[in-house]
Symmetry: C2
Subunit: 214 residues, 2 copies
């Protein structure tokens, strides 16, 4: 959902190319379907789908390692949850930069959210500032590629309100960490999403097994 | 060869784990053989072999795109050669950091060489400084992972002399960009290696199709 709203923001100023990364996460197939559905909706044909299943080889996260359970949400939890995939965003952004350098893209949009996120270190603005410096120094001098994080300071319900204003197809997006058919309503990602829709006073169009009230 | 000497340096202070990355380069199989042979020589059993063939999907480099020819060496060439794989080292290091975070490694050694290298932007010290900052901010706060580049300021012949002092098995290493059986002696990588051995006054134990004198 965050990626979807970010794509809608980017589309106001840029021609888009879409990158999808399979990293061996539990809901890999469902996320890929969302990616393709959203690409059709946006009329984006320049797409790259990349497999980095080495992240599940490496393991250590409940998202990629089936021996670690996906926790039910605790929105007051402080710290780094078991769903944290080590350095995942750096892996994904490095791919994006390599692709950007070849296709001549100058902006890489990512739907990272700092404040209202799950406490992942690689969702913080300081991380993206450092990564931008790394890009500047690690790519050809005639390139000018930057990561853009337009929703990083927003709360979930603000992202949803903005998405609604931009008429994004929320029904095509997928957030659940556990299931691929009907969203569980219980994991961190479902809880953050549902609470956001409730605070925004907007109905979430996807189907849930249960819809806790926050 | 640079990785081999770097591994020998690291082994003086640390227990080693070896990471190999296939990125769809022409000499992928030969490099993997070198990796495994060197692991046996060092007695390293903790190994990770990762495929990121998306780099050849993305293309744009003579190393991964067979429609672009591998240039013969021009050691006076200034600029970035056709063999440059966009942002390759960031992709490889991100994998290394993800793995390090899981296995509890605190140092990531890479055999990057700045001065006497081929002009790749992601072989410069400033790039690694920026990457270290990115690691610090993008990993769990209780981790302390750093990239180490012990040979970055050395000339090729100095690296070879040091390797010889450390008794590294040069015969197990592979540098050629073009061939997997007998090294071509003509590409940038062969030329830099051969010139280095000549300057060091040491005989390169691997077999070449031709051995130009520099």
């Amino acid at each position: 959902m965050d990626s979807l709203v970010t794509a809608a923001i980017a589309s106001k100023e840029h021609k888009l190319a879409f990158l999808h990364v399979n990293y061996g996460q539990r809901t890999e197939k469902r996320e890929l379907k969302a990616f393709n559905d959203i690409a059709v909706d946006f009329g984006v044909t320049q797409k790259l789908v990349v497999d980095i299943t080495y992240l599940s080889q490496i393991g250590g996260s409940s998202l990629t390692d089936k021996s670690i359970e996906v926790d039910n949400a605790d929105l007051n939890f402080e710290g780094i949850p078991a769903s944290y995939v080590p350095f995942r965003n750096a892996n994904m952004l490095s791919i994006a930069v390599s692709w950007a350098e070849i296709i001549g893209a100058e902006k890489i949009y990512i739907g990272a959210v700092e404040e209202d996120s799950s406490g992942y270190p690689d969702c913080r603005k300081v991380f993206y500032d450092a990564f931008n410096k790394t890009i500047e120094l690690g790519t050809k001098p005639n390139t000018n590629i930057r990561i853009e994080t337009p929703i990083i300071d927003m709360k979930k319900h603000e992202i949803i309100k903005l998405g609604a204003e931009l008429n994004v197809p929320f029904e095509l997006s997928w957030s659940c960490y556990k299931n691929e058919d009907i969203a569980c309503g219980e994991c961190d990602s479902c809880a953050l999403r549902l609470r956001g829709f409730q605070l925004a006073g907007i109905d979430d169009p996807i189907v849930y097994t249960k819809r806790p009230i926050f």
